[in-house]
Structure formats: structure tokens, C-alpha cells
Amino acid sequence: MTNDQATRATVTTPSDREIRTERVFDAPRDRVWAVWTDPELIPEWYGSRDGETVVDKMDVRVGGDWRFVMREPDGSEAAFRGTYREITAPELIEQTFEWEGMPGHVCVERTEFEAIGDRTKVTTLTLFHTTEERDGMLGSGMEVGMNETYARLDELLARR
């Protein structure tokens, strides 16, 4: 390897709930895309080195679901799942990512593939939804619900 960039990922945290990784691979973009989106090759790279990754579902199209199960040597399992939100071959994949061990903490992974001559720069931006945010959504939803209830109660009282 002549360029150090190709062997190391650059990781930055644009905000406390975002992780951005950037890495250059010594392969043309079409090949990187083909390997990245091939369900048969997922067990070769997606999970941990010692474990085994089983592709339960991998429907690479907008709205399609994916689910991978990782089995560790001690027999324990961890499952990950999500949905593809945006796909533009061979440039972009946006998908949700959720670990079934912690349901509700859904991340959005946006991966861009940029051709640099015969090499490819792969950038992944992951956005995490914080607990506060989720609680906030729940709070506002409840507020709307309560206001609707009060409005209906007002109507009912007015009719009597």
C-alpha cells in the first residue's frame, strides 16, 4: 500500500450525536458498490472477526428491510435491523440501523461513495437519536392528544 489514507479510517464527531467516518479504498467505485451491496459477501466483512454473521434479510431497494444476526463463539447472538431509505447506485445508501438489544435507539446511516480515479472514498455519516429527543417527541405527542381531548370535552360541555 502506497498511501496511508487507504488503510485508515478518519473518524470525526461533527456533533455529540453524529459520527462521520471517511476512508479511501484501493478499488474502483463500481466494485466497492458491488461488494458493499452483495448479501452473499456480508458475512465476510460486516460482523466481528471471531463471530459469524447471518443475513436474515437484505432487500437493497428504497423501503426494503435488512436484518443481520451475529453469532459469537460462546453461542450468544446480537441482531441488527433497519430499512433502506435512499439508494442511488453507485453513489449513495441511506438506511436506518437499530440494534435489537436496545430497541427504539434508531440511527440513520448515510453512506456516500465518491470515485477518486481508480479509488473510492467511502464516507458514512451516522445520526443518533437521543433519549431526550425521543422523550420530547413523546411529550409533544401527548400534549396534542391532551389538547384534542380537552377540545372534545369542551364541545361535549357546550352541547349540554
Binding site: 487507504a6 488503510t7 479510517a9 473518524v11 450525536r17 459520527i19 467516518t21 476512508r23 479504498f25 484501493d26 478499488a27 474502483p28 466494485r31 466497492v32 458491488a34 461488494v35 458493499w36 459477501l41 465476510e44 466483512w45 460486516y46 466481528s48 472477526r49 471471531d50 463471530g51 451475529m70 459469537e72 460462546d74 450468544s76 447472538e77 446480537a78 441482531a79 440494534w99 438489544g101 436496545m102 435507539h105 440511527c107 467511502v122 458514512t124 451516522t126 443518533f128 437521543t130 433519549t131
Partner: protein, 111 residues
């Protein structure tokens, strides 16, 4: 690499419904191994094994109190967004490493 083992330990610890149940239970208060084993209908030996895996992942701490072993929620909390983002980040780096290796390995074969 040490950091990879750490992630594997976390996922392994939580990849089991009984262990997730134990964490949920300890979130409500401390309990002995016997108290933990009973509702799950498993042996003390079985529960000890589950607790040990959780302890290795830093999710549970235990302390000997008389003849019993008291278990509490550990220093690492799953709900802690930082723990999760850190674990995720390590996983992503590992994934990219292995992806690069696969490309190198299959060079020429799939061009």
C-alpha cells in the same frame, strides 16, 4: 485488538433475553443470585454464568454479602447514549477494516 473484544462482550452480554431481563430487574433495585434465578426458573449455576458475563461487560457489579452474592446495575448503562455511540463507532471502524481486507483479498477476482 482489545477494543473489538469489548464490543463483542457488550453485544454477547445483551444478546440473551435472560440477561436483558436481569438488567431490567437490577434497574429496579439490587438482588441476590437466588432472587434473580427464581423468576426465570433457572438454576443458580445458570444464573451465576449470566451474571458473570454481564459483570465482564461492566453492566453489572456484584459483592459478596454474607453467604449471598448481591448484584447491582454496573457503571456502564445501556441507556447511556455515550456508551452506545462509542460501541457503535468501534463496530463501524471494525466493519470498514474488514471491508478493506475483503477488497484486497478479492482483487482481480471480481473486477
Amino acid at each position: 485488538m482489545v477494543q473489538y473484544q469489548e464490543i463483542d462482550r457488550t453485544f454477547a452480554a445483551l444478546g440473551d433475553p435472560t440477561r436483558r431481563g436481569v438488567l431490567e430487574r437490577l434497574g429496579r433495585g439490587d438482588a441476590t443470585i437466588t432472587e434473580l434465578a427464581e423468576p426465570f426458573g433457572i438454576s443458580l449455576t445458570g444464573m451465576k454464568k449470566h451474571v458473570r458475563l454481564l459483570e465482564e461487560a461492566g453492566l453489572v457489579t456484584t459483592e459478596k454479602v454474607g453467604r449471598a452474592r448481591m448484584c447491582s446495575a454496573g457503571p456502564r448503562r445501556l441507556e447511556d447514549v455515550q456508551t452506545w455511540t462509542q460501541t457503535y463507532r468501534q463496530m463501524l471502524e471494525q466493519r470498514l477494516d474488514r471491508f478493506g481486507e475483503l477488497l484486497e483479498r478479492t482483487k482481480g477476482a471480481t473486477q
